[in-house]
Every structure is written in C-alpha cells, then in structure tokens.
C-alpha cells in the first residue's frame, strides 16, 4: 500500500505552472528519490504536501487520508515532516534544545500548566530530554548537545536538522536536498544516517541534485520535469531511460 498518493496535483504561480497535474505514489517503507532539472517542481511538491502553500487543484492522500487544506502543524501531527533546502535551525538555542523543541509530549505546549508548574511537569521535561538525546545519538551529535546550533560546522547543522525532523516522530520524511554543500566524508555519514532512519520504518522521500548520492541509497527514483512525472523506476533503469536522458541533456547521469 502506498503511504503517499498524489493525483492530478496542480500548482500555478500567477500563470507559471510549477506542478502540471502531477500524479505519483510513494510506497510505504524505503527511500524514494525525487530528481529532476531545476524548476522541475520538486520543492513546490514538498511545499504543497507539507501544507505551506495551497495547491491549485488535485489530491494528496497520506495513508488514505486527504491532507490538502490542512495546516502545516496538522500535517506534522498526522505523520509527515519536512526539512528545508537551506538549513533552518534555531540558531541561538543549543543543539539539544533544537531537538527538544520538536519532541512533543502534549499535542501542543500548554501555557497554563507550564506557568504554574502543575504536577507532571518534571516528568514531562525528563521524557522530552530523554527522547531528544536518543534522536541526537541517532545522528551522532550527542557530544555536541550543549553547543549553540550556530557554532556547529555546516555538515553537522544538516544532521541536526534531520535529528530535529525525526524527533517529530513521522511516518514519512521529506528531505529537501540534504546532501547540498556536504563534502565526501559528510556525504558518507549522511547516507549511513538515512539508512538508519529507514530501518526505523520511516519512509523517506529525498529531493536531490546530487545524483550519485541518491542513486546510492534510494531503491526507487521518480523523475520530474516541468511539473510532471516523466519516469519512475529503480536507479539502474532510470540511468538508461531515454526521456530522462533528454531532460538532462548534456548532464551526465
């Protein structure tokens, strides 16, 4: 069964067509890569699915449930979480606090019980801290927990953003270019971590420009061009696909 079902999804920005009746389905489990040339509509797809921009037309089902029109936080609470192309950390908060901010014990933080330290407060804080540390160690940042997020080198900031997203305990994670700007060593660490997350039965969708990177970890590849799906298949079959080669004309796949 597919975890995410996109059908006839259309998005126009004042005449410009970013998504042209896009249909695709993401099976539960595993890593799916979404690739395509610049302007193919990859990030727009993420923005629509995560509720940050409204679609012009179409349908998106998450585990059979329509999610278009829901607010971003509602979509997260259903189980979809996304990261951003440009890392967006809470820079002046510590590494641990960044992850703690994403750990939710209550559906939403309660002001009244926080202000008055109602019973159960300590237990809740302990639980949040414990969970946050678990997610930090998943990406290997537990030693950096006390540092300010902005002090981390860029590669680790990426990992922290991923830890923060996992802390929202999603069923489906949308990663927007997680490999951008990373060196070879950092890329290897990222691959390991994404595979680790996959083993926790979280479905991953990765938008990526670094083709070699995604071909290495994804078991399925979806190719977008001009807002529509032009190919879909295993990494091996995609490399030979004539329409993909045409879309990437001149670029080596």
């Amino acid at each position: 069964m597919s975890i995410l079902e996109v059908s006839g999804l259309r998005k126009e920005f004042s005449g410009l067509i970013a998504l042209a009746n896009l249909s695709l389905s993401i099976p539960e489990g595993g890593i799916t890569a979404v690739i395509g040339p610049n302007g193919a509509g990859k990030t727009t797809l993420f923005n629509v699915v995560s509720g940050f921009i409204p679609a012009t037309a179409g349908k998106v089902l998450y585990r059979g449930r329509p999610i278009l029109g829901l607010k971003p936080h509602q979509i997260v609470s259903l189980g979809i979480v996304r990261t951003f192309q440009n890392v967006r950390l809470f820079k002046d908060m510590t590494v641990l606090e960044n992850v703690m901010a994403a750990c939710r014990v209550d559906p939403q933080p309660k002001l009244f019980s926080a202000a008055l330290r109602l019973p159960g407060f300590r237990e809740k804080e302990r639980l949040i801290r414990e969970r946050a540390l678990k997610w930090l160690s998943l990406v290997g940042l537990e030693k950096e927990q006390g540092r300010r997020a902005s002090e981390l080198p860029f590669g680790q900031q990426r990992l922290l953003e991923i830890a923060r997203a996992v802390a929202a305990e999603p069923g489906l994670m949308l990663l927007d270019e997680p490999a951008a700007g990373l060196n070879r060593l950092e890329l290897q660490a990222l691959s390991r971590i994404l595979l680790r997350i996959r083993r926790r039965e979280i479905t991953l969708v990765v938008v990526e420009h670094n083709i070699d990177f995604v071909m290495g970890i994804a078991e399925r590849v979806v190719v977008l061009d001009k807002g529509a799906k032009i190919a879909e298949g295993t990494p091996g079959s995609i490399r030979q696909h004539p329409r993909v080669l045409a879309a990437y004309l001149g670029e080596e796949i």
């Binding site: 995560s50 940050f52 607010k71 971003p72 936080h73 997260v76 609470s77 979480v81 996304r82 990261t83 951003f84 967006r88 950390l89 809470f90 820079k91 002046d92 908060m93 606090e97 703690m100 901010a101 994403a102 939710r104 014990v105 209550d106 939403q108 933080p109 309660k110 002001l111 926080a114 202000a115 008055l116 330290r117 407060f121 809740k124 804080e125 949040i128 923060r164 997203a165 802390a167 929202a168």
Partner: protein, 324 residues
C-alpha cells in the same frame, strides 16, 4: 537562591529608606507595577519575538474595568481584579487572533494603532470612564479591617505580585512552551514545520502578557486611588518596550532590571532638573528615553543583562572565577 536574594532585597529596601520621604517608597511601588508589565511584555517580546507597541491598552483596560466595578457598582477589588483580568484576556484573544498574523513592522503598527485607539476610548467614553478627568476615589484593597492604603502596604502588595510574576516567567522559560516560543522567535516557519501550532502559541502568550498587564493596571488603580487616560498613553507603551530592551530579552531578571532602572533613573534626573529653572521635566524624561534607546542599540543590543553576563564571563576568564 536567586529567589531568596530577591525576597531579601525587596524586604530590606524599604527599611533602608525608612524615615526618608515616602516618595521613594511609592516610587518603588510604581517600579513594581512597571515590573509586572515588563515581565509580561518580555514573554511576548523577549521570548516569542513579537513586538507590541500598545501594551498600555491592556494595562488601562485592567485599571479602568476594575475601577468602574469598584466605584460605580461598589465591588470589592478582590472581585473586580479577576473580572478585569478575564475581560482583558478575552479582548486580547479577540485582538490577538487576527493581529498576530502580522509580522515585524506591520505587527508594530497594528499594535500601535490598538494602543492609541484604546487610549482614545478612555478619553471619549465619558459616561463610563469620566473622560479626561478620569476616575477618582477608587477604594483600596483591604483584608478585613486591614486596609492597604499606606505607602508601605502598597509596596508589599505590589512586590508580592512581582514575585509571583517572576516565578511564572521563569517557569515558562524553562518549559516546552518556553522552547516553543523561542523557536518561533528564531524561525517561525521551521517551528511550524516541526508540528508547532505557531499561531496558537503566539495567541496564548499574547493573552497571558495582556492579563498580566491588566493585573498591573488593577493594582495601580487601587493603590493610587485615581486614574486618568494620561497614565495609559502611547508614551507608556514605548517606555515598556524600552524597559524590555534595556533589561535584555531572555531572562526575567533582565526585565526586572529594565523596569527598575528606567523608573528610578528619570525620576532622579527630573529631581535634579527641577533645580534649574525653566526646564520641563516631562520633556527631559522623553529625551532621556530616546538617548537610552540609542545608546543601548549601539553598545548593548542584547540588553544590559546580556552585557553584564558577558562582562562577568570576561572578568572570570582574565582573573579567575569571582566565586571561590
């Protein structure tokens, strides 16, 4: 430990001043009222990063509704206090819901408009508010026959409330709500993308800070015994923002420091200025606020509390810890 220090300082201060003019005590009481306002505003501005240039409105709504209930209907202040707070909370909720969708300059302008409008209502709704003349003979708080109508008693009442507001603030800062608000301040989109209902969280803290302002207003009304629109004007809103900025945005102690310094300093300066002839003390106060704000933004953009912390850290690095 910090709290013990606070209680000791608050308890000792009036005794040090005893025998001197009760003027200082009532000045400290006023500083306490401002401290409650600033602690509340600090949660909105310092923690959540949402500016409010009309906070005097909530302060005024609290003061006026309690005064009207006590004077016109003969209610006890103990009853009018919760009602005034609840009314202000409801108003803040209704105003906050649409207004908090705005960001940055737009939010500043909208809250500015709100503050000015509220002040105009205080002047214009003569039947209820007494217009420019205000409301006089507001009854003081009383517990049985113990009437809180002396400078010292008012001081205790106000600073007890300051203490509880302080605890409230510290509790929130160290909670999941505090983290959520800081996350909103740093990157609202990212906070939203992690499942936080940012609109709801902002509205909650807006209502809380308005309710605290209304409580400050109620205390002010029943301690002074007299209120008029002038006490809740635009300049006060600006003053409160400056106090938050002076103290520094991330701690309750910074807010307290800001409120104390900026209530006491201008008073002393105006006292000094009164010796010169032909100097308008109100103009001096306004000039001083402008000057403080400019200097602050240049030399301590993170507030005095942050600056002090850094000085202490530098000192320790150079000379070893000051604490053995």
């Amino acid at each position: 430990m910090k709290y013990a220090g606070f209680v000791a300082a608050a308890a000792l201060l009036p005794f040090l001043l005893q025998g001197r003019a009760s003027y200082f005590i009532s000045l400290l009481t006023l500083a306490g009222v401002y401290a409650i306002l600033v602690l509340g505003l600090n949660m909105l501005m310092g923690l959540a990063g949402q500016i409010c240039l009309g906070h005097a409105a909530f302060y005024g709504i609290g003061a006026y509704s309690s005064a009207v209930l006590a004077v016109r209907l003969g209610w006890s202040p103990w009853l009018s206090l919760p009602l005034a707070a609840a009314l202000t909370g409801v108003i803040a909720f209704l105003v906050g819901l649409p207004i908090l969708k705005l960001k940055g300059h737009y939010l500043a302008l909208a809250t500015l408009g709100m503050g000015i409008a509220a002040n105009k209502v205080m002047v214009a709704w003569q039947g209820l508010t007494g217009g420019p003349d205000g409301i006089t003979d507001i009854p003081p708080f009383a517990v049985g026959r113990f009437v809180i109508n002396t400078d010292m008693r008012e001081y205790w009442l106000v600073w007890a409330v300051v203490f509880f507001t302080l605890l409230l603030g510290e509790n929130i800062i160290g909670s999941d709500m505090g983290r959520a608000l800081r996350a909103i301040k740093e990157d609202e989109t990212a906070a939203n993308a992690l499942g936080l209902d940012t609109a709801l969280a902002k509205t909650k803290v807006f209502v809380l800070s308005a309710v605290l302002a209304s409580i400050a207003g109620v205390l002010y009304a029943h301690c002074q015994g007299f209120i008029s629109p002038e006490s809740f004007d635009f300049f006060l809103s600006v003053k409160l923002v400056v106090m938050v900025a002076v103290g520094g945005m991330l701690t309750v102690w910074g807010a307290l420091l800001g409120a104390l310094i900026l209530t006491l300093l201008p008073e002393f300066l105006t006292l000094a200025a009164a010796h010169w002839h032909g100097v308008d003390t109100v103009e001096i106060e306004i000039m001083l606020y402008g000057l403080v704000l400019v200097l602050l933004m240049i030399f301590a953009p993170n507030g005095l509390a942050g600056k002090l912390k850094r000085w202490v850290a530098n000192f320790q690095r150079r000379f070893g810890s000051v604490y053995p």
